[in-house]
């Protein structure tokens, strides 16, 4: 009951602070422009480069796969940036401003407070990815060809899980600090460590970043499933939230 009450407040805040609108607009913009960019990049290069005609000969003809690749690259990057930006102050700012103390002396369990933050951010990203996904699907269909809708759904679902991993890790960082900047810094540090570990040959396919590659493979008709990456991602979400709750439960406000 209190989880719902706290979630309701988070949802209202997402609307009133234009958080939802901003994420939807940013992701929809990059979602929709991805197929467009893939389509017109060769034309732009031909038009502006001095040896455009020669270059045009060697640039491959844009395909639907290039559009999908562009989409996943843009969405992956902006989901990461927005997830860090939106989650870094979620707990830290409420602790710093004193609103957490005001509300948590009331019968609002800290677990509900934290859970509502995660669900609120998850809802924002879910809506934004749905809007961006629909827009991009339609434009890709118009400019190239219409793709298998189930594969497209699967790819976006994997993108959503990837965004949730970043949200959960940043929420944990926001819980352990009282400063938004520190939360963002620690979170980026953890993510960068993931990239470094992923660069070690063979390890990348087990990490959350693999979800985006898996999504692109789906669209190519490759049915290879990365269960370990998916399991590790869900595990990271659960562990981050659990750790955040355990820390937050004992924290003095």
């Amino acid at each position: 009951m209190n989880l719902f009450t706290a979630f309701r407040k988070e949802w209202l805040e997402s609307l009133r602070s234009y958080r939802l609108l901003i994420v939807v607009v940013v992701l929809a913009f990059f979602g929709i422009t991805s197929p467009l960019l893939a389509k017109i990049t060769p034309q732009i290069v031909t038009a502006i480069a001095p040896e455009g005609e020669a270059l045009a000969q060697i640039i491959p003809t844009p395909t639907v796969q290039a559009a999908i690749q562009q989409y996943m690259k843009n969405m992956g990057q902006f989901c990461l940036i927005l997830a860090v930006l939106l989650s870094m102050g979620a707990i830290a700012q409420e602790k710093d401003k004193g609103t957490a103390a005001m509300m948590l002396v009331k019968p609002l369990p800290r677990g509900s407070f934290l859970g509502a933050k995660f669900l609120g951010l998850a809802a924002v990203f879910a809506i934004a990815i749905v809007v961006a996904g629909i827009g991009s699907y339609y434009y890709t269909g118009l400019l190239f060809e219409f793709m298998d809708i189930l594969d497209w759904l699967g790819m976006n679902l994997l993108l959503f899980v990837y965004a949730l991993v970043i949200v959960a890790i940043t929420l944990f960082c926001s819980t352990i600090t009282k400063s938004q900047a520190a939360a963002a810094g620690i979170s980026m540090g953890i993510i960068a460590t993931g990239w470094i570990v992923g660069a070690i040959r063979g390890l990348g396919k087990y990490l959350p970043g693999e979800l985006n590659t898996w999504g692109q493979r789906l669209m190519q008709g490759d049915t290879t499933i990365s269960w370990i990456a998916l399991g590790l991602s869900i595990g990271l979400i659960v562990i981050s939230l659990l750790a955040a709750w355990l820390v937050f439960k004992r924290q003095e406000l």
């Binding site: 009951m1 209190n2 009450t5 706290a6 309701r8 407040k9 209202l12 805040e13 009133r16 602070s17 401003k97 004193g98 609103t99 103390a101 005001m102 509300m103 948590l104 002396v105 009331k106 019968p107 609002l108 369990p109 800290r110 439960k249 004992r250 003095e252 406000l253």
Partner: protein
């Protein structure tokens, strides 16, 4: 019945001992003024009592329930107003009170009625649809009091409720607190002595994390009353003052006399005897007086005396 009971509460921050074996009881229905200089441990005590901080050792009970790590057991029974209440600036006061009501699990109809009642009590009816982000400090403080009262708490904790306000804002908040008498137990921390004098019926004085004294205000004033009289004579009686004071000094009920211009300060051994004898002496001497009074100590006098004694130790 006891509303707040604290036993040997200690709180250590690194090497700093914020609370040092604090023990205290506050009776139900009291408006308790928790007085102390800055850094005495007032806020730390309230944070522990509300479950926002953990005691290093010792125990505490609020509304008959023991305070534990995160205060779940007492959450339904208390109200809390921090020194600088913080709100969600995008909410209106009505929305904030509704949110508080939802957290307490109060039904929609009751929430709406209670919010309306509290907005009226806090004088925020006209601002009910404005965003809290644009509120003045006084308005925020009154909204803070309203939210703390939403669940009709048995014990209301107020941390320096009027310290940051201008004189008008202070008056509004103190009037508000005064009106709570009889509705709930108020545990109010402050370093402003005049606020305690005005609204509190019981006073506890804390310094360096230790309770120096706690008693009903009147009992405390009586206990620390200085047995003294002050009188002010007319200019034409000034010449007779010195001789009169010399005569008076020889009386066995007089401890000392000091004269500052036209004002005479007489410290006596027995107030009741002095009440009769002093006036008789004045009449016999023929002194013309403008003012005559038994000196009554203020909470400030008691506070300064007690905290001063502590500092000397």
């Amino acid at each position: 019945m006891t509303a707040v009971r604290i036993e040997e509460l200690c709180k250590v921050f690194g090497t700093f001992q914020a609370l040092d074996g604090l023990s205290l009881t506050v009776e139900q229905g009291a408006v308790f003024g928790f007085l102390g200089p800055n850094g005495a441990g007032k806020t730390t005590t309230i944070r522990i009592l509300t479950g926002l901080a953990h005691a290093t050792s010792g125990r505490a009970w609020v509304a008959g329930k023991e305070v534990t790590a995160n205060g779940h057991e007492i959450a339904h029974h208390i109200g809390y107003l921090p020194e600088e209440p913080a709100f969600y600036p995008w909410m209106t006061p009505r929305e904030f009170l509704d949110y508080v009501g939802r957290v307490f699990g109060i039904s929609t109809a009751d929430r709406s009625a209670r919010a309306k009642e509290l907005l009226a009590l806090a004088g925020l009816e006209e601002a009910a649809k404005r965003h809290i982000g644009g509120f003045s400090k006084g308005m925020r403080q009154r909204l803070g009091l309203a939210q703390a009262l939403f669940n009709r708490p048995e014990v209301l904790f107020l941390d320096e409720p009027a310290s940051a306000l201008d004189p008008l804002g202070r008056k509004e908040v103190l009037d508000f607190i005064e009106n709570l008498r009889g509705q709930c137990t108020v545990f109010m921390s402050t370093h402003i002595l005049a606020d305690v004098e005005r609204v509190c019926d019981t006073v506890g004085i804390i310094n360096r994390g230790k309770l120096i004294t706690a008693a009903p205000r009147e009992a405390l004033l009586a206990q620390y009353a200085i047995p003294a009289f002050e009188l002010e004579v007319e200019k034409q009686s000034e010449a007779a003052l010195t001789q009169w004071s010399e005569t008076l000094k020889r009386e066995n009920w007089v401890t000392s006399i000091s004269i500052e211009g036209l004002v005479v300060h007489v410290i006596v051994k027995d107030v009741e005897v002095a009440k009769k004898e002093l006036l008789r002496s004045i009449t016999q001497t023929g002194l013309m007086i403008n003012r005559y009074e038994v000196v009554r100590p203020s909470v400030e006098d008691v506070f300064l005396q007690l905290v001063g004694e502590e500092a000397e130790k």
